[in-house]
Each structure stands twice: as structure tokens, then as C-alpha cells.
Amino acid sequence: MKGCYINGMGIVSVQKTFDSEFLSEVIVNETENVLYAQQPSYKEMIPPAMIRRMAKGVKMGIYASTKALEEAGIEIPGAIITGTGMGCVEDSEKFLKAILDNDEQFLTPTSFIQSTHNTVGAQIALGLQCKNYNFTYVNGAVSMETALIDAKMQLDNDELTNVLVGGIDETSSHTLELFKLTQIIKKEEDKPYSVLNSNSKGVVFGEGANFFALANTPNDTTYAKIEDVAIYSALQPEQVANFVTEFLKANNLAISEIDAVVFGNNGDVTHDGYYNVSSTIFNETPQVFYKHLSGEYNTASGFGLWLAANIMKQQQIPAIVKMNGLQKDSYKTILLYNQYLGKDHSLILLKNAKA
């Protein structure tokens, strides 16, 4: 039964997911082109002396990771592996702004210390006093998947029995302005925003922290088994079907054996073609989407993984994330496909832990 099992999860997202039942309080916002994370109360979890220096991303990461470890019953993980596309951009902006505003003088240490990409992983380790393997992957929109691959390899090779893995990205005002200028973020006049059948460029941007407590054996809280993860740097839309079928072939699976497929459609008309596999090879498979709930960010696929793992555990797909009307009696094998700006393609294969 050894493998890579999701035994605990913690999430802070633009939805009220941190303390509510699975998708019980979600809202689809079609009028904002930037969605900000719903912040839980951190005071019970983080000492006041530490919290005052933490940017939003660090706090979200600590909250989500603590919840994941608590659920899995892990006190000190064998490793802490994080993924982030943009890192602690809020403190990076503060530090760079201070350099400009003060003519390269009077630079204070706090925002500089907290501006590095590995701040979240480091602060989690400091809080836990965990001196084990600690690594942060900064690999665009496959940052979290890269962290997952590292974790899975260490579990598969019996180097560790459990690992804390997470993806985290925060928004920051200046970066958002730049993204609006370059039309990475949708224009105001493109409202109402939709991630399906959109005819406008850009995405609705979001932020969040998604953490997973993985272990090499299942327990009472197990959601799913991560069977395989694959990433690909750059593909043409017509190459996606081959990427998917080769991946399934390597896992001895046929398309018909996939019980649900979770797509990362983000409403960017320029790159929607990458999801054509939904109407070609997966036209008879129940389909799920989630970026209308999470917004787009480099580690948004963590929200997708959280969603898929919940679907696996609950054995049903909530109506709000259904892309088509198909459903199955049981969900034993779920595939996730995501890409961002035509790059950073990823596939994650989940299996029912009891299968």
C-alpha cells in the first residue's frame, strides 16, 4: 500500500474555504478582475511578535500548512517543500520602493529579509522548529507540481515517510498594475468575466495558499493517492492530446478509465485552445473547472488539486464546478491538466486510496 497519499489539506483562497465545509460558501465573482484571498484570523496560530512582520503570503502559507499537518496528524514533517511562482512579492515591492523613494539610502531590513521566495517555507520551519529538508521551487506555473514531484520521489524511494508540500502566491499592488498594463489581467470593459467560452484576453487574477500533508501510507483522513505528476515546459495546443495520452499510457490507463478530468480553464481566449482536449479526447468524461472560484495565479493548480482530492473523498462533483453534464457512479481515477500562457503544462493523476 505504499505510495504518495494526501492525508491532510489546508487552504486559504479567494473563497471562504478556510473554515467552511467543502465549497459550501463559494461565490462566483464576474465583476472583479482581481480577487483577493479571504483572510482567516491568524492570531490564534502565529505569535504576535512574528505576525507583525509577515506579509499576506507568509501568513496564508503558515495557516494552510498548519491545517494540513493537523489534519494528517503530523507534528514535524520529514520535509517542507514549497512552490511559488512570484514569491513574496509584497515585501519585494516594499523593499524596491524604499530603494527608489530614499535614493538607495535608509534601507530597513524587514522587507528585505522577507522578500525572498523561500520565506514561506522558512517561516513554516521556524514556527515548527523543523530542521529537515526545506526546499522552494520557483518554476512559473508548475512550481507546485515541481514541489510535488520532489516530494513524491522522496516518498517513493523510502527516503521519507511524510512530507509537507504546498503552493503559495500573493498579489501586490504594483505587480497587479503591471499585469493590467500588459493585459495579463482582463480589462474592465470585458465584464462580465467568465473562464468558459470567453472572448477576451487575459485572466481574472487571484492568490492563495494550498498545502498538502503527504505520507507514504494512507490513514483515516486520506483523500487520495497521487499516482503520477508530469510537467512540460512548452507545447502547441495540438500537442496536448499526445502529452495526455502518453502520460496515461505510462500509467497503463486508457482515456475511458479516467472518471473525471479537472481543467485549468482561465478565460484567456489567447490560450483557450490548449483545452480543446475537453471536446476531443475527453468528450465522454465528466469535466470539472475551478478558476472561476480561485482566480488565476502561478500555483492555482493547488486549488485544483484540493478540489480533485475532495471530489475523490466525497465521491461527488459539486454542481458549481461541473463543466459538462456527465457524471459517474464512482470516482476512482481523476486527472488534472493545467497550463498558463501556453507554457508550464502539468498533469496530475489521482487515484482512490482504497483502490
Binding site: 512582520r53 539610502q105 535608509f106 530597513t108 524587514t110
Partner: protein, 85 residues
């Protein structure tokens, strides 16, 4: 001097992001480090920058900081005696 003390309290709260602490909560003779306000070495660096940026005082000897940053009283006295702006 009293105006300077009030100003220092608000600046310290703002610069060090002391959540849940108001100007009225800090007494003029409260210890800033250790048992008092609980500031640490990173805060000390922030305070050194604050002296330089807002009052034109460059602390060349870090050992001086120990006495200067004892309390709002000691900070205000040192600023009054040494400020260049």
C-alpha cells in the same frame, strides 16, 4: 519634548507594525526591548534607520544603541541633543 515623544511612539508603531498597540499603551519610561515592548535585534536596525532618515542622526557605534533605545524618554533626549533635521 512631549510632542517629540508622542511622535516617536506613533513612528515606532508604524515602522515596526506593532499591531494592537496604541500610542497610549506605551509609557515614556517603558523598556522598548526585552520585557517591555518586546522589541528585538531586527527592530533595533529599523530604529537606527529611523534616527538617520527622520532626524539626521547617524549611529556610528552600535554599542550606543543600547543606551539610546532604552525607552521613549532616552530616545527623545538623545534626538533632542543630536538631531540635524
Amino acid at each position: 519634548m512631549d510632542a517629540l515623544k508622542q511622535e516617536l511612539k506613533s513612528k515606532i508603531i508604524e515602522v515596526l507594525n506593532l499591531e494592537d498597540i496604541a500610542v497610549e499603551d506605551i509609557n515614556d519610561n517603558d523598556a522598548l526591548f526585552g520585557d517591555g515592548l518586546g522589541l528585538d535585534s531586527i527592530d533595533a536596525l529599523e530604529l537606527i534607520v529611523l534616527l538617520d532618515k527622520d532626524y539626521g542622526i547617524k549611529l556610528t557605534d552600535p554599542k550606543e544603541g543600547k543606551n539610546i533605545f532604552q525607552s521613549i524618554d532616552t530616545m527623545a533626549a538623545y534626538i533632542t541633543a543630536n538631531r540635524t533635521k
